[in-house]
C-alpha cells in the first residue's frame, strides 16, 4: 500500500517536471509576446489573469507592471531556473564525487586536507557563503552557477568518500585487486559504480535546493539580473504590488514551489528505493 503511494507520487513528480520543462522550452518559442521588451506600458500594465488587454490580446496569467505577459515570462524564467538548478547541482555533485574519490583513494594528508576544507565550508551556512561569493564577482547567470558548484560539492564529497571507504573492503574489490587491477581501475570500474547511490539521491534533492537558492539570490537582487527573468526576480518585482496586483508575485512563486516539490518528491522516492534495495541485500545476506 505504502509502496503503491510512493510509486504514484514519483510518477506525478516526473510528469510535472516533464510538462514544466517542455512548456519552458516551447511557450517562449511559440508565443508572439515579447517577454523582455517594454511596449505600450500604460495600456498593457497589470492586466489581471485570464483577461484581454486594451489591444485585445489574451493574457493567461495577466501582465506585469511593464505590460509584459506573465505566463511567457514565467516560462522563460523556468528555462533559466531549471537549467541553473540542474547544471548547478550536477556539476556540484561531479566535483564532490571527484574530490571524495581523491580523498578516499589517496588517504593520508590529502584526505585530511580535503575533508578539513569540506568541513570548513560546511560550517558556513550555504546561503551566507553564496552571498559572499556572488557579490565578489559581477552578478549574473554564470556567477550563480559557478557559486552554486563552489558551495555545493562538500556534502556529496563526504558521502562518496564514506561510501568508497565502505566499498573498498568488499570482497569483489579484493578479488579485482588480487587479479592485478590498477588502483585507478579498481576505483573507476569496481568501487565507484557501487558507491554512487547516495550521491545520486543527493543530486536529485540538490536540484530543488539549487533552484531555491538561485531564486533567493535573484530575489535579493544578487542573482539573475533583470530584464532577464528568473522566478526569484519576478517575485521581487511583484513585491510592492501584492495589494494592487497579487498575481505578479503569486504566479512565479507557485511555479517555484511546484518545481521544488517535484524534485523533492523524486529525490525522496529514489532514496526510499535505494534504502529498500540496501535493506533487501542485507536481508539476503543475513
Amino acid at each position: 500500500m505504502k509502496h503503491a503511494f510512493a510509486w504514484r507520487l514519483e510518477n506525478v513528480a516526473t510528469g510535472m517536471l516533464v510538462v514544466l520543462a517542455t512548456a519552458a522550452v516551447l511557450v517562449p518559442m511559440l508565443s508572439r509576446q515579447d517577454p523582455l521588451g517594454i511596449g505600450d506600458v500604460l495600456a498593457l500594465r497589470l492586466v489581471p489573469p485570464l483577461s484581454r488587454d486594451a489591444h485585445g490580446v489574451f493574457h493567461l496569467l495577466g501582465t506585469d507592471r511593464f505590460g509584459r505577459d506573465l505566463f511567457v515570462r514565467m516560462m522563460l524564467a523556468g528555462r533559466i531556473s531549471l537549467a541553473v538548478g540542474v547544471v548547478g547541482s550536477v556539476f556540484a555533485s561531479a566535483a564532490g564525487t571527484t574530490i571524495g574519490a581523491i580523498a578516499a583513494w589517496t588517504g593520508g594528508i590529502v584526505d585530511r586536507v580535503l575533508m578539513a576544507l569540506a568541513d570548513a565550508l560546511l560550517a558556513l551556512p550555504r546561503l551566507v557563503l553564496l552571498l559572499v561569493c556572488t557579490t565578489l564577482w559581477r552578478p549574473g547567470l554564470a556567477t550563480v552557477v559557478v557559486v552554486l558548484v563552489f558551495t555545493g560539492w562538500m556534502g556529496v564529497a563526504r558521502l562518496v568518500r564514506a561510501e568508497l571507504l565502505g566499498t573498498r573492503s568488499q570482497p569483489y574489490v579484493d578479488a579485482a585487486r588480487a587479479l592485478g587491477a590498477s588502483p585507478m581501475r579498481l576505483l573507476w570500474r569496481h568501487a565507484l559504480p557501487n558507491s554512487l547511490g547516495p550521491a545520486i539521491v543527493a543530486t536529485t534533492l540538490g536540484v530543488g535546493n539549487a533552484i531555491l537558492l538561485e531564486s533567493g539570490l535573484s530575489f535579493l537582487g544578487m542573482g539573475i539580473q533583470p530584464p532577464r527573468p528568473s522566478w526569484g526576480n519576478m517575485i521581487a518585482g511583484g513585491r510592492d504590488l501584492i495589494v494592487v496586483a497579487p498575481w505578479v508575485a503569486i504566479a512565479p512563486g507557485l511555479a517555484l514551489i511546484v518545481t521544488v516539490l517535484a524534485c523533492t518528491l523524486l529525490g525522496d522516492s529514489l532514496r526510499d528505493r535505494l534504502a529498500g534495495e540496501a535493506g533487501a541485500t542485507l536481508r539476503d545476506r543475513a
Binding site: 505504502k2 570548513a120 552571498l131 559572499v132 523533492t264
Partner: protein, 323 residues
C-alpha cells in the same frame, strides 16, 4: 571534549581564513565605493592607506588575525563604527527571532511527524505529507509576501478584527513611544509573521524527518513488546518511541541551524528587521569587508558551536553514548 573544543576553534579559524581569502581575491576594490567621485587621486590614496588597503595581502591578513585574537573585528567601512558594536546591536534581534522559531519548529514538527508515522499510509498521513512537502518547498520570502498580503493588507481591507491585523515591517510601531506591557505586546505582534514563517518552514523539515525515523522505530520489536505488555499508546509513544528518536533529533537540532540562518536572512530582508541577515546583505552590497567578515564569523561560530553542543548533549539523551 577538550579535543573537540580545540577542533571546533581550529575549524572556525579555517572558515575565517577562507572567507578572508575569498573576499580579498575578489576583483572589486572597496575604495572605489568609499571614495567620493570628486576626490583627487591623492585623497583616494589617503583613504586606502587609512584602511590599510595599500598593504600586501599577507600584512592585511596578519593585522586582521592579530585584531581578531584581541576581540577586535575592525571598523565597518560603511557605518564608521566598530564591527563588534554593529554586530552586538544586530545579534539580539536575530537570536530572538531564531530561538523563538527554533523552539516552535520542534514543538510543532515532532508531534506532526509522530502523528504521521502512527497513521502511516492513511489519508491523514498523505495530506500531511503533501502539506509538509509543500511548505518545505516554498521559498520563505514568498511565504512572507503571501502572509503580508493576507494579514497586513488583506485583514485591513476585509475589516477583520484588530487581533489578526498584523504589522509587517520593523520591530516597533513607528512614531509612538510605548512603555511596559504595551511595548511588549507591540513587539510580539510584529514578531508573529516572521516567526510563523521560519517555524513553519523548519517544522515541515523536522516533520518529514521525524515521520521516517519514528516509522523506523515503530517496526522494532521492543515497541511490540511494550504494546503486548499493555502499555498505553501515550506511554508507547512518549516513553519508548520518543526516547529512541531523541538523540537523532538532538543532532538534527544542530543541523537545522544553517537552514534557519538562511531563512532568517530572507525573512529579515522582507520584514525589515534590523538583524544579522539584513546587516549581512547591506554589508555585501556596500563591499564593507570588515562587516562581512564579522557577520560570517558570527554565523560560522553559531554553526560550529551548535554542532559542539549537539555532541555534548548526546550522552544526556542517549545512555548508550555515556562513557
Amino acid at each position: 571534549m577538550l579535543r573537540r573544543i580545540a577542533g571546533a576553534l581550529l575549524l572556525l579559524w579555517l572558515v575565517l581564513t577562507i572567507t578572508f581569502a575569498l573576499i580579498r581575491l575578489a576583483p572589486g576594490d572597496p575604495a572605489t565605493f568609499l571614495v567620493p567621485p570628486s576626490a583627487t587621486p591623492a585623497d583616494a590614496a589617503r583613504i586606502r592607506a587609512e584602511l590599510g588597503l595599500d598593504q600586501s595581502i599577507w600584512v592585511q591578513y596578519a593585522r586582521w588575525a592579530a585584531g581578531v585574537l584581541h576581540g577586535d573585528l575592525g571598523e565597518s567601512f560603511s557605518l564608521q563604527q566598530p564591527v563588534t558594536r554593529v554586530l552586538a546591536d544586530a545579534l539580539p534581534v536575530s537570536i530572538g527571532l531564531g530561538a523563538a522559531s527554533l523552539a516552535l519548529t520542534f514543538i510543532i514538527g515532532v508531534p506532526i511527524g509522530m502523528l504521521q508515522a502512527a497513521r502511516r499510509g492513511r489519508p491523514l498521513d498523505r495530506a500531511l505529507t503533501i502539506l509538509t512537502t509543500f511548505v518545505y518547498a516554498a521559498p520563505s520570502f514568498w511565504l512572507a509576501l503571501a502572509l503580508i498580503a493576507v494579514f497586513t493588507y488583506g485583514a485591513a481591507a476585509w475589516g477583520l478584527p484588530a487581533a489578526v491585523r498584523l504589522p509587517a515591517f520593523g520591530l516597533h510601531a513607528p512614531g509612538v513611544q510605548l512603555q511596559g506591557r504595551a511595548a511588549f505586546v507591540d513587539l510580539l505582534r510584529h514578531a508573529v509573521l516572521p516567526v510563523s514563517i521560519l517555524a513553519a518552514v523548519g517544522a515541515a523539515g523536522i516533520a518529514r524527518y521525524a515521520r521516517s525515523s519514528v516509522a523506523d522505530v515503530l517496526s522494532h520489536e521492543f515497541v511490540r513488546t511494550a504494546r503486548a505488555k499493555g502499555a498505553s499508546a501515550a506511554r508507547v509513544y512518549f516513553r519508548h518511541v520518543l526516547a529512541t528518536v531523541l538523540p537523532a533529533l538532538v543532532v538534527l537540532f544542530a543541523l537545522s541551524l544553517p537552514g534557519l540562518v538562511a531563512g532568517s536572512i530572507f525573512v529579515e530582508a522582507v520584514f525589515a528587521w534590523p538583524g544579522m541577515g539584513r546587516l549581512m546583505v547591506n554589508a555585501i552590497i556596500a563591499r564593507d569587508y570588515p562587516l562581512v567578515m564579522g557577520a560570517a564569523a558570527v554565523y560560522a561560530a553559531v554553526v560550529v558551536f551548535a554542532n559542539l553542543a549537539g555532541d555534548a548533549a548526546l550522552p544526556l539523551v542517549d545512555p548508550r553514548r555515556r562513557a
